[in-house]
Each structure stands twice: as structure tokens, then as C-alpha cells.
């Protein structure tokens, strides 16, 4: 068990709460002098589901796959810029697949001792409880998980 943390992984999905998480992760990495990784998973499983369900035609899937790759690059670049602002070294990793499965593999292979996640959603319906990738990561992570609340104070403190 690594305390203080030496290998922190922050999950990025482009949401505002994952932005908050990367800010928190950067500060935490600086405090602990830990190695920091920002990971984004291109959800190719969702794309496959949409083709299977007949919602996407093949040409559309290919177009969205490119868009998702661009999304991933954009958000990981943003994470890098934020880390640079605080003089923290960051590694960015873009992966593909089923989000919680791929993340679990990454956490194991990188010997991460902390996963930082943006806000876990409030459970508003039974269906939703079974579907959230963030919730699944929280449940299946092989290492401790820190859930960062989407709080304006974190943004203000980061920008100070």
C-alpha cells in the first residue's frame, strides 16, 4: 500500500467533474511528489452497441470513432496544460475499449496506488445505477479510489 501515494492515475472523460479531478490530481501529485497519469478511454464498446442496435450505420460509426479520438486528444492536451501550469510532470494515455475494464487493466499494469475520479453520479434511477462507467470503476478498481466532488473551490484554488 503506497501512502503517501507514488503513482496516481486520474480518469478523464471530458466532463466538468473529470476536469475537477485532474486539478485535484495535479495538486495531490505535487504534494506527494507522485507520478501522475491522465487516462482517457475511447468508449468503442458504446460505438459497437450503437451499430448493433441499428442506431449507427457503418459510415457513421467510423466518423464518430474519429470524433472520439479527437475528443480524447483534446482533453488529454488540456490535462497536460494544467499540469504544466503547476510544474507537474504528467503522462497522458489514450486507450480504447470498455471503460471500466480497460481502466482496471491500466491500474494493475501501472501499479497505481490511487485512482482519482470525478463525481460519482447521484443515483436517480435503477437503470442508471447499472450503467455508469464511473460507478463501475469505483467498484472494480484494484487500488484505492478518491472521488473528487465537483466543487468550485477546487477550481478557484487551482487557479489561485
Amino acid at each position: 500500500m503506497g501512502v503517501p501515494f507514488k503513482q496516481i492515475v486520474v480518469y478523464q472523460d471530458g466532463s466538468e467533474s473529470s476536469m475537477t479531478a485532474i486539478m485535484y490530481g495535479i495538486k495531490l501529485a505535487k504534494e506527494h511528489d507522485a507520478k501522475l497519469t491522465a487516462a482517457y478511454v475511447v468508449n468503442t464498446r458504446a460505438l459497437s452497441e450503437l451499430v448493433k442496435a441499428g442506431i449507427f450505420v457503418t459510415v457513421e460509426r467510423d466518423e464518430y470513432q474519429r470524433d472520439l479520438q479527437l475528443d480524447a486528444d483534446r482533453y488529454l492536451r488540456h490535462a497536460s496544460r494544467l499540469a504544466q501550469q503547476k510544474q507537474v510532470i504528467i503522462e497522458t494515455i489514450k486507450l480504447e475499449g470498455t471503460v471500466h475494464v480497460v481502466m482496471k487493466e491500466l491500474l494493475k499494469s501501472s501499479k497505481a496506488d490511487l485512482l482519482v475520479l470525478g463525481g460519482v453520479t447521484d443515483i436517480r434511477s435503477r437503470r442508471e445505477e447499472l450503467a455508469s462507467e464511473t460507478d463501475r470503476m469505483l467498484r472494480t478498481s484494484p487500488c484505492p479510489v478518491l472521488v473528487v466532488r465537483d466543487d468550485d473551490d477546487i477550481w478557484l484554488e487551482f487557479e489561485a
Partner: protein
Amino acid sequence: MNVLDVLDRDLVKVPLMHTDKQGVITELVEVMAKAKGYSSEQFQAVLNAVLDRESLGSTGIGNGIAIPHAKSDVVEHVSLVVGISRLPVEFDAPDGQKSRIFFLVLAPSKEASAHVELLASIARSCTSQVFRRMLEQARDSDEVVRLFME
């Protein structure tokens, strides 16, 4: 991103008035345009985007559901309109079944991830036959919202 993140009772219409594919799509876009205060040019741009996508292949996915969707930079964020029709509408679904439940999904090009997640969330929500039946029988927009919240 899932249905509940974007579901808004002002963007739910029960019942839809049109009984043909083009009419239903237009009606769904009108609901969005009215709620968001789009100009007639913006309305037309969104409608064209949805119809262009429809020309690639029908978004009627079977089991009485259709999910017309498109990317359009007229919309600021991923948005959803839900419509329920009292009468089945021919939407060229692969199972030959006419549609009564409609989800119009629009997203700006910069929100591909959220767009894909929302579409997948709709697909998952509608796998239950019981849920589909309840949606078809919903009396008003409040009931549609309540069903998704259960």
C-alpha cells in the same frame, strides 16, 4: 452522460400530432427550437442535419422506437427531445414494426463522447419491453419523465 442528465419535461411531447416520418421529425425539431428559442434559420439547419442523417439509413431501430439524431453546431450541448405518438408511424425499422416512441438527439461536433454515451443510454433504457409499453402509454410529459426516474 445518460438520459437523465438531459431529460427535460419541456422537451417531451405527448402526444405527437404527425403520423408520418418527415412530419414527426419536423415536430420533434420544433419542440427543440421552441424550447431553445431558435431562429427560423437555426430551426432549418437542425432539421436539415437530421434529415441528412436519415438519408444515410433509417433511425427506426425496431421494437417501436426511432432515434433520429445528428450533429449540429446550432445546439450548444447534447440535447434530447422525447416524443410519444398515439398512432404507430412508419419509420422503416428493420423489424417492420411501426414506431411510437421517438428520441431526437442533437449534439455539437465537439461533444462526440457525450453524444455517443447518450445514444447508448437510450438504447439500454429501451431494452425492456415493459418499459417500452409504459412509455407508449404515458399520458403526458410528466409521466414520461417519471418513468425514466424510476
